[in-house]
C-alpha cells in the first residue's frame, strides 16, 4: 500500500481547538503541506494572529510568533529584515487583516515585503463571538449587526485582494476557497505559489482563502460551506488577482 494522504510534518501532533467543521483546519494543513513540499520547514518562521487561529503557534511545527491583533505584517517585516533568507509567513483573519491591521498589510504590500500572507476570510469575527467583520456581507447578521449589515450604517464589505492587487509591491495575490475537494486542491496550488514567489524574492504574496465559521454563522459545517459558495463567492470572486509574468503563463 502506498500512502496517498497523511499528516504533514509541518503540523505538530496537537489537536486543534477549532470548532467542528471549521475550515481553519483545512487551511492550516495546506500551508503545512506546502512547507513540507518545498522542504523549508527548518527555514520557516510563521506568525499567528489574534483571532481564532491565535494558537496556530501550537499547530505549525516551525518557529512561530504570536503577534498583536492586526500587526502580523509588521512583525513579519521585522523578522524578514533580520533574516532575508528565511521564509516568513503570516496567517491572519479578516478582522485582523482587514480591520485593525489595514495599515500594516497595505504597507507591507507597498514595500513589496518578501513575505507570504495567508488571509482567512470568514466574513466574521470568530474568536470574539461573531461580531461584524469588514468583510461581512450586506444583510449578513452579526452580534454587532443584529439586523444585518446595512451599507448606510456600516458601509460596504471590503475586498482586500482587489485593493492589494493595485499595489506595485504586491507580486502575487489570489483568492481561493475550500468548500469542496476541487477548490481545496486549487487553494493549495495558490498557497504554494505564494511561498515560491517569496523564495524567488519577487515581492509580497497573499492568498485570500474564503473560509467558513459554522459556529458564528449559526449553520452546520456542511450548510456553512454551501452558504460560503452561494453568498461569499459572488461578492469575493475566486481567481488570481495578480501574478508575476511567469506564474500567469
Amino acid at each position: 500500500m502506498i500512502t496517498v494522504f497523511e499528516r504533514p510534518k509541518s503540523l505538530t501532533p496537537a489537536k486543534t481547538h477549532y470548532c467542528p467543521g471549521c475550515t481553519h483546519g483545512i487551511i492550516h494543513r495546506l500551508v503545512a503541506e506546502v512547507i513540507d513540499e518545498l522542504g523549508v520547514r527548518e527555514e520557516t518562521i510563521g506568525i499567528a494572529p489574534v483571532g481564532c487561529s491565535v494558537l496556530a503557534y501550537n499547530y505549525f511545527n516551525v518557529d512561530m510568533y504570536e503577534a498583536a491583533h492586526g500587526r502580523a505584517p509588521a512583525v513579519a517585516t521585522g523578522i524578514k529584515r533580520v533574516h532575508p533568507d528565511k521564509v516568513v509567513f503570516t496567517y491572519q483573519g479578516d478582522g485582523d487583516l482587514a480591520a485593525i491591521g489595514t495599515a500594516e498589510i497595505i504597507h507591507a504590500a507597498a514595500r513589496g515585503e518578501k513575505i507570504t500572507t495567508i488571509f482567512v476570510n470568514n466574513a466574521i469575527y470568530g474568536m470574539t463571538g461573531g461580531q461584524m467583520a469588514p468583510t461581512t456581507l450586506i444583510g449578513q447578521t452579526a452580534t454587532t449587526a443584529p439586523n444585518g449589515r446595512d451599507p448606510e450604517v456600516q458601509g460596504y464589505p471590503i475586498r482586500m485582494s482587489e485593493i492589494l492587487a493595485t499595489m506595485p509591491g504586491a507580486a502575487y495575490i489570489a483568492r481561493v476557497s475550500v468548500h469542496n475537494p476541487q477548490e481545496v486542491a486549487k487553494a493549495k496550488k495558490a498557497v504554494k505559489t505564494a511561498f515560491q514567489v517569496q523564495l524567488e524574492r519577487k515581492g509580497f504574496a497573499m492568498v485570500e482563502v474564503l473560509s467558513s465559521c459554522p459556529t458564528n454563522w449559526g449553520l452546520t459545517p456542511l450548510k456553512a460551506l454551501e452558504w460560503l459558495k452561494d453568498n461569499m463567492i459572488p461578492y469575493y470572486p475566486l481567481g488570481v488577482q495578480k501574478a508575476p509574468e511567469e506564474v500567469k503563463a
Partner: protein, 356 residues
C-alpha cells in the same frame, strides 16, 4: 577616540551602532527626528537596516519581530508616538524580548507642544501599557551619558530579556555637546540567543509569545517577570549624588532638569546653603537605598521636574515620607531656570524645611 561635537539625537544613533545595533524601525516625530535621519544614512553603510514604518504602532511591532529574531534592535519616538506604542511594548515585555526604546519627551498632553518635557515619567516607569510589566528606564543628563547609557541599555536588554527605555527630552535630543564614543561592538560576536526564532533547524520550534490561556501559567509567568524586576532592583540601580553628604536640602531631578539642579546647587553653596543633588539614573528600578542614603541628613527635599509632579511621587514613596519632599515643576515645554530653583531653595531653607 577624539571628542566630537554632536547633537544628542545623532550621538544616540552612533552610540546604538557602536553597541551592535543594526536594525532601526521608527516613525518621524519632533524633537527626535535627527536620530532616524542619522541612522538612515549610517545603518546602510555598515550593512544594517533602517526602515521608516508606516506608524509608531507598526514600528514597535517590527521591533517585536526583529527582537524575537535575535537582533539588537531599536526604535525611537517622542511622547504621542510613544503612547501609540503602549500595546506593543506590553507585548514585548510579555514575550521577554530585548530591545531599546527611546523617548525624547515633549510637552503634553495630547498634541501639546514640541518643546522639551518630562511628563511621561509615569508612563515610562509604571508601565503605560496594560499588565504588570516594567521597562528598565535609563535617564541620561548629558550627551556623553546618552552615549554611555546606550551601550548599557543594549547589554541590560539582553541580560534581562526585557525592553529598556532611554528617557530623554527635547533638550537632550536637540543640544550639541562634545562626546567620545566607545569602540564598535561586532554584533556577530555577541552571545547567541537560543530562544530566538530563526528557523527550527535541528531543534524544537521556538515560540515568541505572550498568550497564556491557562491563568495559572500566566500567573507563573508574571511571577517570573517580577523576579526579574526584583533582580534589576538588586543589581542595576544607578544614581549620582552630588554634595549630598552634608546637605540640608537635597534636590532630586533627572535628565536635563538635573543639570539645572546641579547649577542651582553650586549657586546655593556659593551662598552658603548646604544644598546637594540626588540624580536617579535608573528611574526603574528606582535607586531606593541610594536616595535614602543621600537624604539621610536632609531637612528637606526638593524635586524638580518638567512636569506637574510625577517623579516627586516616587521620591516620597522611596523616602517613605521620612523627609518633607517639596516640588517645583514647569510644564508644557517650559524649562526650569537655575535662578528659579535657587530661589526655591532659599525659600525652603528659610522656612526650615518643615511642612511638605
Amino acid at each position: 577616540m577624539a571628542k566630537v561635537l554632536m547633537k544628542g539625537n545623532e550621538a544616540l544613533g552612533e552610540a546604538a551602532i557602536r553597541a551592535g545595533c543594526r536594525f532601526f524601525f521608527g516613525y518621524p516625530i519632533t524633537p527626535q527626528s535627527e536620530l532616524p535621519h542619522y541612522l538612515a544614512k549610517r545603518l546602510p553603510e555598515i550593512g544594517g537596516v533602517f526602515l521608516q514604518a508606516e506608524s509608531e504602532v507598526a514600528a514597535i511591532n517590527m521591533v517585536y519581530g526583529a527582537a524575537g529574531a535575535g537582533a539588537r534592535v531599536m526604535t525611537s519616538s517622542s511622547s504621542p508616538g510613544v503612547s501609540l506604542k503602549m500595546e506593543g511594548i506590553s507585548y514585548i515585555a510579555g514575550a521577554e524580548l530585548p530591545c531599546v526604546i527611546v523617548n525624547m519627551q515633549r510637552g503634553g498632553p495630547g498634541l501639546g507642544s514640541i518643546q522639551p518635557g518630562q511628563s511621561d515619567y509615569f508612563q515610562a516607569v509604571k508601565g503605560g501599557g496594560h499588565g504588570d510589566y516594567r521597562l528598565l528606564v535609563l535617564a541620561p543628563a548629558s550627551i556623553q551619558e546618552m552615549v554611555d547609557l546606550m551601550g548599557l541599555a543594549f547589554a541590560l536588554a539582553d541580560k534581562y530579556r526585557n525592553p529598556v527605555m532611554i528617557l530623554g527630552d527635547g533638550t537632550l535630543g536637540q543640544m550639541m555637546e562634545p562626546v567620545e564614543f566607545p569602540e564598535m561592538i561586532d554584533p556577530d560576536k555577541l552571545p547567541s540567543k537560543p530562544w530566538a526564532a530563526r528557523g527550527a533547524k535541528g531543534r524544537e520550534p521556538n515560540i515568541i509569545n505572550s498568550l497564556y490561556l491557562n491563568p495559572l501559567e500566566l500567573e507563573e509567568h508574571n511571577l517570573k517577570l517580577q523576579a526579574k524586576y526584583a533582580q534589576m532592583a538588586e543589581e542595576e540601580t544607578r544614581s549620582e549624588s552630588y554634595y549630598t553628604d552634608d546637605a540640608e536640602i537635597v534636590l532630586v531631578g533627572y535628565g536635563s532638569s538635573a543639570r539645572v539642579c546641579k547649577a542651582a546647587v553650586d549657586q546655593a553653596r556659593q551662598q552658603g546653603i548646604k544644598a546637594g543633588l540626588f540624580r536617579p539614573i535608573t528611574l526603574f528600578p528606582f535607586p531606593k537605598a541610594e536616595i535614602q542614603a543621600a537624604c539621610r541628613q536632609a531637612k528637606s527635599v526638593l524635586t524638580v521636574e518638567m512636569s506637574m509632579g510625577q517623579l516627586v511621587e516616587d521620591v516620597r514613596y522611596n523616602l517613605e515620607f521620612k523627609v518633607p519632599v517639596h516640588f517645583y515643576g514647569r510644564a508644557g515645554g517650559m524649562v526650569p531656570t537655575t535662578r528659579a530653583v535657587v530661589s526655591k531653595i532659599t525659600e525652603l531653607v528659610q522656612e526650615g524645611g518643615r511642612s511638605a
